[in-house]
């Protein structure tokens, strides 16, 4: 394992510490909980607070999206593991400006349980909490069982919309509705080319044979729908687009946001190769890209591969997407 590591058990604490130091202009650590990162601008009195959280190893997600008009507080879990209910609760408290808190998170067993417990505890402390569960990963369940799908990179767009809506001074239920609309407008798919290695494990946690690729892979290496021969980049881009569009209801003239995220080890230029093809194919269908994000936005340690997220835009989502933000994940 060729990695920068001290004791693997400490890596999350060290990461969060380094992160907060590097971005002290935008974020700070919750004084009561070293696993909660809080926006320098939170809490905003009278504004709905935005909270998320999840396992580590996806940097810049989740902590990188803490900031102005984005996420107010993030609960940080072990590598690939949900944060504790306590951390979610502390994040909720840190984000609470008196107008309630929207917890916008991904659909994983641990997160579901911990958020549920935290929301209950928060209610006891008089904080109103509503949740939205991201389930944008098309390959993780058929359309009929959308509620079973994993949340992946579409979460970033959900946070963006939720944060922007909260910034308008909207009520908690409105913020929840906007975030729900955002994630409902997102469809994602992942393709894995090589596995990742958890520091505490020391060897790859799954396999992708040389010359093979895994279509529909999850952010933790959860196997996808199909293992196939590694195809040329254009063909992979076409396949990914086909998978998300088949599940999407986009007609000619539609406007979208496109997010192509590397999974950690894929060279950045190859993400642009994928994007070049994707935008060309969308243009052929008369679908216009209003905003493109290409880079390592939501990673899985040093996995090779990429995810594609397409978000359908209407006027409200477009406006909220364009709201200015400041967070480390978008370049600070």
């Amino acid at each position: 394992m060729q990695r920068f590591l001290n004791n693997p058990d400490d890596i999350v604490d060290e990461t969060v510490r380094g992160f907060v130091k590097a971005h002290h202009n935008l974020v700070r650590l919750d004084p009561n909980n070293p696993r909660v990162v809080v926006s320098a601008s939170a809490p905003s009195q009278g504004r709905v607070g935005i909270v998320t959280g999840g396992g580590s190893g996806h940097e810049p997600a989740f902590i990188g999206y803490t900031g102005r008009n984005m996420v107010d507080a993030v609960a940080v879990g072990e590598i690939f593991s949900s944060p504790t209910a306590k951390s979610f609760l502390d994040a909720i408290k840190a984000a609470n400006g008196g107008a309630g808190v929207a917890v916008l998170y991904g659909n994983y067993a641990g997160d579901n349980m911990n958020v549920k417990m935290a929301a209950k505890m928060a209610a006891k402390e008089g904080i109103e909490v509503l949740t939205v569960v991201a389930n944008d990963d098309v390959s993780s369940a058929p359309t009929a069982e959308r509620e079973k799908r994993r949340g992946v990179a579409g979460e970033i767009l959900m946070w963006k919309i939720g944060g922007a809506k909260a910034a308008t001074g909207a009520a908690l239920s409105e913020v929840q509705a906007a975030a729900q609309k955002a994630i409902d407008a997102c469809r994602s798919v992942g393709v894995g080319l090589a596995p990742c290695t958890l520091p505490a494990v020391g060897h790859p946690n799954f396999e992708i044979g040389p010359g093979k690729m895994e279509i529909g892979i999850g952010h933790h290496g959860e196997p996808g729908v199909e293992v196939s021969d590694l195809k040329p980049a254009d063909q992979i881009a076409d396949d990914m687009l086909e998978i998300v569009l088949a599940d999407h209801d986009l007609s000619a003239g539609a406007e979208v946001a496109v997010l192509v995220s590397g999974l950690g080890a894929t060279p950045v230029n190859e993400l642009y190769v994928l994007y070049d093809r994707i935008e060309t194919r969308l243009a052929k269908r008369d679908i216009k890209v209003h905003r493109a994000l290409v880079g390592n936005y939501f990673t899985s340690l040093e996995m090779m591969g990429a995810t594609l997220t397409i978000m359908a835009l209407d006027d409200e989502l477009r406006t909220l997407l364009d709201t200015e933000v400041a967070c480390p994940g978008f370049g600070g």
Binding site: G55, F80, T84, K86, L198, A200, N205, G218, H220, E222
Partner: protein
């Protein structure tokens, strides 16, 4: 009637912890096949940390409560809530008791099972730790009801736990991370069912050794 001293709880829970720590790589490897590979690391971290904090002479209730607390408030993941609730509900049933006898142990197991069910809502057949826990608790209760003594009931629990764990090999996951795999989840053990079996077997073995 056979029973063990509640103050043996500290060492008993530490024995359980040691087993989990020893099986750290094995559990991560199983989880890696159809999950994300973190089960062993997280379990070992939580159980190891708890063991460091449990005094040797801690009553069983306190030892279980410390373990629960570490899992819930420091480890998180799925195991924080699931095992966290299991151990905290188990702790509640034995709190204040000087000795743990066969019915007491049974009540503790049952409470643990209901604790997990309350948080996770999984049932037998979903390919989770419930596939180990449910038959194990039922076997214990059944044996006791049929007149077995404490040691024999524990033996029955162990056998059922192992059978339950192995039953997950043929199951398709219906809950948790692996549930998105459909048929591809068949053919491998479930990580939680495996760690649950390790826990129950270690608990049973430790209890038997302490009977007096």
């Amino acid at each position: 009637m056979a029973s063990f001293l509640a103050t043996e709880g500290g060492t008993l829970v530490k024995e359980v912890s040691a087993v989990i720590v020893e099986n750290r790589s094995y559990l991560s490897e199983i989880d890696g096949r159809i999950g994300d590979g973190d089960h062993g690391a997280n379990m070992a971290k939580g159980f190891g940390r708890a063991a460091d904090r449990i005094p040797d002479d801690a009553p069983l209730a306190d030892a279980l409560a410390i373990l629960s607390d570490v899992l819930m408030s420091e480890i998180g993941g799925s195991m924080g809530p699931l095992y966290g609730m299991m151990f905290s509900d188990m702790a509640d049933t034995v709190r204040g008791q000087e000795r743990v006898d066969a019915p007491g142990f049974g009540a503790m197991l049952r409470a643990g099972l209901e604790g997990v069910r309350g948080v996770g809502s999984a049932e037998v057949g979903d390919k989770t730790l419930m596939d180990t826990l449910v038959p194990a608790v039922e076997a214990y209760e059944g044996a006791l009801g049929a007149g077995s003594d404490f040691a024999a009931a524990l033996e029955a629990m162990k056998t059922a736990a192992e059978k339950g764990r192995d039953s997950t090999i043929d199951l398709v996951a219906r809950i948790g991370r692996a549930s998105r795999l459909g048929e591809r989840s068949r053919g491998v053990l479930d990580a939680g069912a495996t760690s649950c079996c390790l826990i129950l077997v270690a608990l049973a073995d430790g209890a038997v050794r302490r009977l007096g």
